[in-house]
Amino acid sequence: MSLPNQLQDTFSPKELQFMVENEPIKIFPRFTTRQRIRKQRNDLLGTDSHRWKMMTMDDTSLNNMMAMQSTTVTLWIALLLKQQSKCNIIAPEWLTSKALDRALQFEQTNTLRFSPLPWDWLIISEILFKKAPDDFHDRVHELRSKIQDLREIRQLKVAKGIRYMNESHLQLDNLSLLEINELRPFISGIMDKLRDIHLAAVDAGGEDEMMGEEDDNDEMFNGTMRNESSRMS
């Protein structure tokens, strides 16, 4: 492929944003698309005035919206509607001042663990801060600084965690998509080299016992990586 290296073996932040925009989010629409209401009103008025209808793959959620009743739609649609001021986005419950404070507390008390934030917390919060800053109940700059604090404290932990890497395994639970992605070129490069060193010693030693063990470890490594990628897609 003629893609530059960094696009071949990892995702760019924009690609990640694209993926995350397929996630569901709750909105308050400001208009109604529900068909039943149209019929009733048509009966009352006695006309067949056409209400417009959303073109969509699945008829259910998008064409069943009621003004000011929360509905779940995919994020990119929510952003489109928001852009035309046709809806308000409801911030997810973890993206409030209180919840972030709790997460920060967790990060500070548990120095060896990551708080269980959603896998796309960094991306969702970035998008919402940019596109829908007026839909938060808390002040955006406060939320933003809390997110930044969380990110920094977690980055420190990751830097500490790298010490425990070996040729086959590195486990960092609750790390999110973007955080994994920014580490990927570094971690996979170092791990590949460690495995090369390990294999060189094992192959030359020619001990079958060690080889078997190595295979197991490899599977474990693949397993964790697979988990990550499955969470990604």
């Binding site: 290296n5 960094q6 990892t10 932040p13 070129p185």
Partner: protein, 199 residues
């Protein structure tokens, strides 16, 4: 690793001290003795690609002209001796402070050479030392790769140039592989910073 992998070629070019186990006529020019022959036990530095073959290929046993008895079992042309990159001096330096070590001055392809060397002898101890070295240095590389972006962000020229200076001094001590990883990690961190601060 492809045939045209320049790092692989350079690694194979590393000089390994070798000891000759046979008299070899006509090869004297290798030790500034043109026309002469190389004698048993003379030591020479040969590139790894040549030394590896000569150390494996075996010579038919010499037949003593008087007694007519074959002298010993098969021996290769040369034996390999530990190159400077893995001498006790360097190993001790690695053990004392893996991070401060200037690996690039020891060998620009240190890890690649180490892997080849370990592969030749199945040297578990060396493998362990080198992995430990890589792990310790990886942490420093990671933090450097991450911190450079912060100075980009701040945009203050003074601070920037100072830290850039530190960066260049640091990258000079890296082995080629480490440099590649450093660049990749740095790119990755920078991409994400850019994405987060785009307006």
């Amino acid at each position: 690793m492809g045939y045209y992998d320049i790092d692989d070629v350079l690694t194979d070019n590393a000089e390994i001290p070798c000891k000759f186990l046979h008299d070899i006529p006509g090869l004297g020019y290798l030790e500034n003795n043109p026309g002469g022959s190389i004698h048993v036990n003379s030591q020479l530095k040969l590139p790894l690609w040549l030394a590896r073959v000569l150390a494996i290929v075996e010579v038919a046993p010499e037949v003593d002209p008087i007694t007519g008895i074959a002298s010993e079992e098969n021996t290769p042309f040369i034996t390999l001796m530990t190159p400077e990159a893995f001498s006790i001096k360097v190993i001790n330096a690695i053990k004392t402070d893996p991070v401060a070590l200037d690996i690039h001055s020891i060998n620009p392809q240190f890890y690649a050479l180490a892997i080849k060397w370990i592969g030749l002898f199945g040297d578990r101890d060396l493998a362990e030392i080198v992995s430990e070295l890589l792990l310790k240095r990886a942490q420093v590389i990671n933090s450097h790769a991450n911190s450079i972006t912060i100075s980009y962000k701040n945009d203050s020229i003074n601070h920037n140039s100072k830290s850039m200076n530190n960066q260049t001094v640091f990258t000079l001590t890296l082995d080629e592989f480490e440099k590649k990883i450093f660049k990749q990690a740095n790119e990755s961190y920078k991409d994400i910073k850019k994405w987060m601060f785009q307006s």
